[in-house]
Amino acid sequence: MFRFWKVSASAGAALLLVFVGALLVACGGAEEEGAEERAAEEAAPVRAAFVYVSPVGDAGWTLAHDRGRQAIDALPFVETAYTESVPEGAEAERTINQYVRNGYNLIFTTSFGYMDPTINVAATAPDVTFMHCSGFKVADNVGTYFGRMYQPRYLSGIVAGMMTESNIIGYVAAHPIPEVIRGINAFALGARSVNPEAEVRVIWTQTWFDPAKEREAAESLLDVGADVIAQHQDTPGPQQAAEERGKFSIGYNEDMSSFAPAAHLTAPIWDWSVIYERVANEVNDGTWSSYQYWGGLEDGVVGLAPFNDAVPQEVRDAVEAKRAMIASGEWDVFTGPINDQDGNEIVAEGVTMSDGDMLGMRFFVEGVVGTIPESE
């Protein structure tokens, strides 16, 4: 056990390794070779990288983004790459940075938790265009993009409101953040616009991606009599629960009908190719400059999945009527009168809520059963 000198030798080696490395680091990147050169060889004008929060196979959020990626990958002047399951927070900085170092000039970071890492890396790479999904921080080379998902949510609410018989609609929700709350409210408004007796019961899972837990939440809603299940989750767990019980369901992110062929009525879905193609073109033309994109039904960045055969024509017509009104800009979802759960008027008759108020939404509208967890 006593082997001071031998130990010291390996200790020396370890210390040397670390210190030499640290020295190299401190002296800065004199020998930043390789990566860029290699990249330059085959360079397409737009080299777009995507940072994903979960595996592409999640059938939800990331799959929707990857469909968008594939769409621009088909463009002649674009090549794409992606990394799956990148942790949110500072770990992501390395991944983003490695794309920069490998010569990618357009980087999409597709989850809220990448906001600070994106801003941090962008500060060191002024020539690269960054687009961060769902955040609010911008810079000269960082823009944001998101969709008015509340619009198709409202439409799917109409479907649920007309299809329910028990007048209890279950909603499996992820985290109590404004985006999710907005979706629940829009959904409830849609349902009650056609069925004032309907109520929307909410369960929070505090997860985005946990198939078992999300499925269980749906089951408990079915247990209390819900006959339509909607969800703001990235797995098809709730769909499968509804399918098994012979009830209806509304999907999210993607057409989830393959997981619940009988139950799945429709789903509010993303079509990210709309914004991805726009940004790719702008970068290619050199016309891109930082902006915050929040597109709606009119752009097609959000929409509804095809209806199940079980959805009668009358329902389809009702949905189409409202869709046309929203897409034309004639009317939007959060137009008064809107009351909160306690009956207080929040938006007066004829007034439409501002984007700022929508982005910070912290209340439930009338007809929603549930509370917003608030620890303060």
Partner: protein
């Protein structure tokens, strides 16, 4: 010349290990329906012989026949197939499984399913038939030690064994549990089973066995009918009649009293009483020997006077300092050195170097470092000194002591414990397993330290050693001191009787 009633007959069995002959041409005949005790001191070769009989060891020479047919075991499985099973001292049970599950464990070959309910029925039937009381559905962790032993016995019976070997089965039992065990053993004997019973306890041996074989130094020194012998005769056989020993000149040099033990009682690891009301004194320049058959409280005695075991009553003083509630460190600080019996398990750290081991109990001393620091240079020099002074055969002081031979390892321990300034030296089985030269060296060293004025507690199973070194000899039996005799006047036969449980007054009379 095989007896038709012999269940097992071993002829001329010899088993050698490097440097030792564990069994030297041993004959043993086990009859059908008898309880046969194997008696002997530690290291006499009992366990080796049983391991040969259960197929764990292959004998170097000799033959074994079972039910008159010569056999050759290649593995324990072969022995089990012939109906020989052993209950070890340390049970091999899965605590979280039930009794029945433990019994059938490893039985069914391959992927054949075991029908547990069927097995449970058979276990219940067996336990009824032999009077082995245990609930087949109970989990092992719920059972007392005695009940766990019954599970081991059932395990063997379940496999159809006719011949049972029990290795010191009563060592872990309470007297009541031991009595119940004997009832079981007798009932098995009636049903034609043959039992080999290993024990040190002469009273038990007399009570339970039909015949007794005594092993000494790896040899069979006699097989006797129990009815035709006595504890005295047995202890003489075990110890050996003709002891030749060199007596060291023992000038009277007793000084002031160093160790005083008054009315001390203590519990063993199982919570059973191990020492009962023990009192004695050892003075400077005196060696007090402790004799006794193994397992009669010697280990606990050594632990109590070195602070490694708490006492439940009584008092201990070292050099006039009361040691109530003192830790092992306090005893070390008070100048108590200790050479334990277990050299590998207790006295040394096998994977550490000789240097480290040489300061194992001394690393706090000022000479081995300042403040919180350990001065390994000083320790190395000290190790070098020990190697030279004690003539320790080792490739170097950085060698892991695990690789040293028994004699050299003992030298390391003795060297460490004796080169310190001690007031009291506690030594247990100091020469056990050592060759003649090493033994002589240890004895001379002990005697030298006595002359230097140390008080020495010498615990040994070797009467010869005790007689040659001690000033006085105390005999332990069942945790009590049977008497303390002057070594110069001690008679081996008297000591033998005391070791068998007779008080000094009775033994002398």
């Amino acid at each position: 010349m095989s007896d038709s009633r012999a269940a097992v007959s071993m002829r001329g069995v010899t088993k050698r290990f490097p440097g030792v002959i564990a069994n030297d041409r041993v004959d043993l005949e086990l009859l059908e329906g008898e309880i046969h005790t194997l008696l002997g001191e530690n290291g006499a070769g009992k366990s080796t012989l049983m391991n040969v009989l259960t197929g764990i060891y292959l004998p170097d020479e000799g033959s074994i026949s079972v039910a008159g047919k010569p056999v050759r075991f290649n593995s324990p499985k072969d022995a089990i197939a012939l109906g020989i099973g052993m209950v070890h001292q340390h049970f091999k049970l899965v605590q979280s499984h039930t009794v029945t599950e433990n019994i059938v464990l490893g039985l069914a070959g391959g992927f054949q399913p075991v029908r547990l309910s069927e097995a449970e029925g058979r276990v219940a039937e067996l336990s009824e038939r032999y009077g082995v009381k245990v609930d087949p559905g109970a989990h092992v962790w719920e059972l007392s030690i005695g009940e766990q032993q019954r599970v081991e016995i059932l395990k063997i019976l379940f496999r159809g064994a006719k011949i049972l070997l029990l290795d010191e089965p009563t060592a872990v039992l309470t007297p009541q549990e031991a009595d119940e065990l004997f009832v079981t053993l007798r009932s098995m004997r009636e049903k034609g089973h043959s039992i080999v019973f290993i024990s040190h306890k002469l009273d038990e041996v007399m009570a339970i066995s039909d015949r007794i074989t005594v092993l000494r130094g790896g040899k069979n020194v006699g097989t006797v009918q129990t009815s035709a012998t006595s504890p005295r005769a047995l202890s003489n056989l075990m110890v050996g009649r003709e002891i030749q020993f060199q007596t060291y000149p023992r000038p009277e040099m007793k000084g002031e009293s160093i160790l005083e033990v008054k009315g001390v009682s203590a519990e063993g690891d199982r919570g059973l009483p191990a020492l009962k009301d023990v009192s004695f004194e050892v003075a400077s320049g005196e060696i007090l020997g402790f004799a006794g058959v193994a397992g009669n409280g010697q280990e606990e005695l050594a632990q109590v006077v070195t602070g490694l075991k708490a006492i439940s009553s009584g008092s201990i003083t070292v050099d006039g300092r009361p040691m109530a509630g003192a830790s092992a460190k306090d005893f070390i600080d008070a100048g108590v050195s200790y050479v334990p019996a277990d050299r590998h398990g207790v006295a040394t750290v096998g994977d550490m170097s000789l240097t480290h081991n040489s300061v194992l109990r001394r690393y706090r001393e000022e000479k081995f470092g300042q403040g919180p620091l350990l001065n390994l240079v000083a320790a190395s020099k000290y190790a070098d000194r020990l190697i030279e002074e004690f003539d320790i055969k080792t490739p170097g002081r950085e060698t892991a002591v695990r690789t040293l031979s028994g004699g050299n390892l003992q030298k390391v321990i003795l060297a460490r414990e004796m080169t310190t300034r001690h007031r009291l030296l506690v030594v247990m089985s100091a020469t056990h397993g050592l060759d003649v030269g090493a033994t002589e060296f240890v004895r001379e060293t002990l005697n030298h330290h006595r002359e230097e004025g140390a008080a020495i507690v010498l615990i040994s199973e070797d009467l010869e050693e005790l007689l040659s070194l001690s000033d006085r000899i105390a005999v332990l039996f069942h945790g009590e001191i049977m008497g303390i005799v002057d070594a110069a006047q001690a008679e081996i036969e008297t000591l033998g009787l005391m070791m068998a449980g007779e008080r000094q007054s009775e033994a002398v009379a």
